[in-house]
């Protein structure tokens, strides 16, 4: 409000005018600035206020409430004020004193500064400023008129001369004019934003941000992240899609103007209508999508698990639930299990047959090796091939079976020749190394299931020339600059032990050349034997098995086809650390004890199993129960004195604490299973897996086994001491 009631302000002297602070300030300013030229100031103010008071009188109160005059175009039509706005409003309230006006004051110029907030100018008549000096008459005239007006205002109220009267104006004739427009289309759209809808949209934003950051990352970080994200099941496609659950209202909640329920009901109608090519293509796309494959995979597992519920429950040590529905008369196996559980019939340890892994693809091939995945103990890799050379080389197979689907292998890899050795990597739990009969080493990535191995030794100059008999992944302490990396060590019949590294390509490093060592056997004919042994056909021994010491990764055992076992170190590639003599035929398997660090066991084609201690070159004890070559051996992960072995005719489980003369369980093979070729204990369940020459892997559950001794190492130690003592006694008496 710039309209200053200077009149009143002057009258009321120091007190600020009631109407608005700006008015007060303006008046004060008027006073401040040169203390006003009283008379002329008065005139000036009167002049201004004369005009303005008329305005203010009528519309003073209205101004504050009057709206702006907006234009049609959105601009403002409020007439601009004439006087320049001084937006600043200074709030000096200090000066209230009014000094007496002197003649000099009257002569002085009066500056009037008016500051204004929003103002609507409705009427703007330029005030005429009259200087009483120059036009004295006019000033006088105006002054008189002002006085007259004041008197008029005072008289107005209650005066008969002035009557309030209404007036009628002509009403403008109205005319309605119709006009036509295009129909304004209307559509209703409803949508519910559920909590997860909002989450999805935020997530999409986050993903976008991540993608931008992703490009800036270095390779190392990516590799580290990849390693950390190893999922539980390498067979399930763990590459969780980073795409959000797109098509934002997901499949089962597609919102549109019509609810999806109607869509599905209309499904019948749509079927009969011929589908357009596009739609057909879309549907076909669904059929070939990898997601569908994945879903089918999972559902197949569920279906099979339904069928084999009891078996799996037994495997996992869960109680068997009886369903209301009684099965057919074929429910022998599960019924037998139930009966056994309930009655606890036999008290002696025995095996209960659970199921067998077998599929048409592997029929006829012998199982050569079985290994559990290091990370997910439910995944089993089985290799098929031949141990002996055959005129017609069949193709080999590696199958990955899972406990979750006992009917179908989840991965099948075909190789050019029989596979003789397998090993899962510990560092990358999805890498499976396979050693072939023709000496090659392949590494498969089971996540993708592609038939191409990620690494192979086809082009490597250091590859083996004989069948690879044993493979093992070893975590190595590398040099100062490198971190511990995992290397693959292979032992082969060509007498070499080679270390493969996968860091840059597939590099090899020869660890050992197995030399033939003369067998030192006690007996009177020792000297003669030694002389005979000098005439060798080749100085190379053929490795037939290998085992790394679980405690000291630099030390490993190699069994040769001569029957000798050698302890070697990765640091020396010429010399053996130690040689063990006890077998007279190829050592098919050697395994360190998981409980005692320097005890290991070996089995050979000479029908014997030998238990050794690392510092004794002669076996601690020799076990054997049949006249068949023993093909494979496995320690029980739960009990230090128990191990299992297979020979051509039967499966035997030995408990050394109980007896070293006879096995505690024997399970003969029958005709259709052929001879047993490999045995493996299960780590997470009391079960035993046996592979045979027909391509079956049977799963047995161990029942009524003696419980594990409290101190495993001690128990095994006791066995050894006992055996040593008896040997000592025997040699003393002899």
């Amino acid at each position: 409000m710039s309209q200053v009631k200077l009149q009143e302000s002057i009258v009321t002297s120091s007190r600020p005018a009631a109407a608005g602070q700006s008015a007060a300030n303006a008046s004060k300013k008027a006073r401040q600035s040169r203390k006003g030229f009283y008379a002329s100031g008065l005139y000036a103010s009167r002049a201004t206020s004369g005009v303005s008071s008329r305005k203010s009188g009528e519309e003073k109160g209205v101004w504050s409430k009057y709206p702006r005059l907006p234009n049609d175009q959105g601009g403002e039509d409020t007439p601009k004020p004439l006087l320049e706005d001084d937006k600043k409003v200074s709030y000096d309230t200090k000066e209230t004193m009014e000094s007496p006006l002197t003649e000099a004051d009257l002569e002085a110029d009066v500056d009037i500064e008016i500051s204004e907030t929003d103002t609507i100018w409705l009427l703007d008549i330029k005030p005429k400023l009259v200087n009483p000096e120059t036009d004295g008459d006019l000033a006088e005239l105006i002054k008189q008129r002002n006085e007259a007006y004041k008197a008029l205002l005072a008289d107005k109220v209650g005066n008969d001369k002035y009557v309030a009267r209404e007036m009628n104006t002509l009403e403008a004739t109205k005319m309605t004019k119709p006009c036509q427009t295009d129909e304004i289309g209307r559509s209703e759209f409803g949508n519910t934003a559920s909590g997860w809808d909002m989450f999805d949209s935020f997530q999409a934003q986050l993903e976008k941000e991540k993608a931008d950051r992703f490009e800036k990352k270095t390779d190392e970080e990516l590799a580290k992240e990849a390693e950390q994200q190893q999922g539980d099941d390498p067979l399930e496609d763990n590459r969780r899609p980073l795409e959000p659950t797109s098509k934002s209202p997901a499949f089962v909640g597609r919102q549109s103007t019509t609810p999806s329920v109607l869509d599905s009901e209309f499904g019948t109608v749509r079927e009969s209508v011929a589908m357009t090519a596009e739609e057909q293509a879309q549907l076909d796309a669904i059929l070939t999508s990898p997601k569908l494959k994945q879903t089918l995979f999972i559902i197949e597992r569920a279906v099979v698990q339904n069928n084999s519920q009891n078996l799996l429950a037994t495997y996992r040590h869960l109680p068997i639930i009886e369903l209301d529905k009684t099965g057919d008369s074929e429910a022998e196996a599960s019924q037998a299990l139930l009966v056994r559980q309930k009655s606890g019939a036999s008290l002696s340890p025995h095996l209960a047959y659970l199921w067998r892994y077998s599929c048409p693809a592997v029929k006829g091939q012998a199982v050569t090796c079985m290994v559990w995945n290091k990370q997910n103990k439910d995944i089993l890799a089985v290799s098929y091939g031949k141990h002996e050379y055959e005129p017609e080389m069949k193709n080999g197979l590696v199958c990955c079976w899972s406990v979750k689907n006992i009917q179908q292998p989840e991965r099948v890899f075909r190789t050019k020749s029989g596979v003789t050795a397998l090993s899962w990597s510990t560092q990358f739990s999805y890498l499976l190394a396979a050693g072939l009969f023709d000496g090659h080493v392949l590494i498969f990535d089971v996540r993708t299931g592609s038939q191409e191995p990620v690494f192979d030794s086809y082009l490597s100059p250091g590859r083996h020339f004989g069948p690879v008999r044993q493979l093992e992944w070893v975590r190595k302490e590398a040099g100062k600059h490198e971190e511990t990396q995992e290397v693959l060590v292979s032992a082969s019949s060509d007498g070499r032990v080679i270390q493969w590294s996968i860091r840059k390509g597939f590099e090899f490093k020869e660890l050992m050349k197995l030399k033939r060592v003369t067998t030192v056997l006690p007996g009177p004919s020792q000297k003669q034997k030694q002389q005979k042994a000098d005439a060798l056909i080749s100085r190379q021994a053929s490795g037939s098995s290998m085992a790394f010491n679980p405690n000291d990764k630099n030390v490993y055992l190699v069994g040769t086809e001569d029957g000798n076992l050698h302890k070697c170190s990765c640091s020396y590639n010429e010399q053996y650390l130690e040689s063990y003599f006890g077998h007279s035929s190829p050592v098919y398997s050697v395994k360190w004890s998981p409980f005692l660090t320097d005890v290991f066991i070996s089995c050979a084609a000479d029908w014997t199993i030998n238990l050794w201690q690392a510092d004794r070159t002669r076996p601690v004890t020799t076990m054997g129960s049949s006249t068949k070559s023993i093909n494979s051996l496995s320690w029980s992960p739960k009990s230090s004195c128990i191990f299992a072995c297979v020979n051509d005719g039967q499966l035997e489980v030995w408990n050394m604490a109980h007896s070293t003369l006879d096995p505690i369980i024997t399970e003969p093979t029958d005709e259709d299973t052929g001879r047993y070729t490999h045995v493996l204990f299960s780590d997470n369940s009391d079960s035993l897996l046996v592979g045979d020459a027909q391509g079956n892997v049977q799963v047995f559950k161990l029942e009524n086994m003696p419980s594990a001794p409290k101190n495993q190492a001690e128990a095994l130690d006791r066995v050894i001491q006992l055996a040593l003592k008896t040997e000592l006694n025997a040699s003393q008496t002899a």
């Binding site: 659950t245 499949f251 339904n306 099965g327 429910a331």
Partner: protein, 98 residues
Amino acid sequence: AEVEETFKRILSHKGVIGAIIVSYDGIPIRSSFAENDVTVQYCALIQQLAQKAKSAVRDLDPGNDLTFLRIRSKKNEIMVAPSPDYLLLVVQEPNDQP
């Protein structure tokens, strides 16, 4: 393709009554049921149920999502695997025989 092969294998398992692959529109792409109305009935009803289940799971925790739905009844079991593009359902008669 591999999909067809796996589909046929699932159907060959013991106890499996039938399996259907439904597209996101509610059109059955592959169905092992001979009668069409059975197929369509399964599609419509199961789709609604899966939608409800998915909504429930996500309302409880928006970061979660429905991966698998199993409905076990007196006579059989319906296994549903929902997905943004399609829905796969298998009906099986559960029995505990290998």
